[in-house]
Symmetry: C2
Subunit: 180 residues, 2 copies
Amino acid sequence: MIRLTDLEHAVLGVVWRDGPCTPYAVRKEFLDSPTPSWSGSAGTIYPLVRRLERAGLLASEEAGRDRRPSRLYRVTASGRRVLRDWLRPPLPVTEIAPGADPIRTRLFFLDALPPDEREAFLDMVVRQLEEHVADLRGDEQGEGRLDPIDRLARRGVRHVAEARLRWLREVRATLGRRSP
Amino acid sequence: MIRLTDLEHAVLGVVWRDGPCTPYAVRKEFLDSPTPSWSGSAGTIYPLVRRLERAGLLASEEAGRDRRPSRLYRVTASGRRVLRDWLRPPLPVTEIAPGADPIRTRLFFLDALPPDEREAFLDMVVRQLEEHVADLRGDEQGEGRLDPIDRLARRGVRHVAEARLRWLREVRATLGRRSP
DNA sequence: TCCATCATGTAAACAGTTACATGATTGC
DNA sequence: GCAATCATGTAACTGTTTACATGATGGA
């Protein structure tokens, strides 16, 4: 049994969902994603699909036909099994509680700035986060013809962004009041 | 000008905040963090501080004195400057909108499971997330003697976890109603 | 015809983790 | 004296990104 990353599982999922397809089609899925978790760069995807094929989770056939050589990949029975197992609960804790927040990280060292710059930092970040949330809301308004999963995913991103914003306003209120 | 990662900046911040200290003291800071973003493993920290020293952002002196050789690191003037620049707004977009959510990723491929297992997945993940939030609340109750920044950081983690939970309940409600 | 973009790939770097090795110190 | 754990470090590996190279296709 090999251990796959979330990206490898996701590639497996894309190939399963979008039928026999080329590595480039998989790439585009990540490149065009409105909720990007990975870059979908060539250097990631091409070696990755070959790895999955060697592991027996994908199979491929020649697709070139007098064109530049290319391959169509599909998920094998064993690949489908791996995909289902990935989706079967319970999830590992690391997937339930994912970690880093760059703003939170910076917060710990805010005292390295003089007081007025501390406030400027918090003001600016609140403003940036407000803009980001506004963008997300705009996106949701704009593209009405999205499939339900995409719509839910975007809502998730927005919900989390809004929560961070609320928290950061709280932070500003708390730290702003502090006596220097 | 060298480009540092968030972890490198954070190490710089820890050494600045905790005064001249050993690499191990820095490690512990990450190992014991209630809001962990990095493992603080030896293989990360020891090479990292040497790197920062070679870049002129840290300086060190022998601390051993008939003990096993050890070094006390402190932040140089140049290091303090880098630390402040890191904290100065505006932040890069990637820091405002950090990305991956393993649950969201899985959502896209939920149809690979039969309908009853789809529901089981959503139920289970909601339950796991509820437990996680409950843990976070418990932690906040328990440790009253935390410094303000730590307390704020924990609140941030909880806020985001709660937002994800609310979102996931919404997802369950939406997808549960779907006709198979 | 030429330029943009589609498409396939490789090489090198990078950041971070795991696992290991080993010396020193403390508490039983 | 012996075990646990404190402390310092190295080596190998892993997953991902960046940058590059290059061929094919379609539209101006």
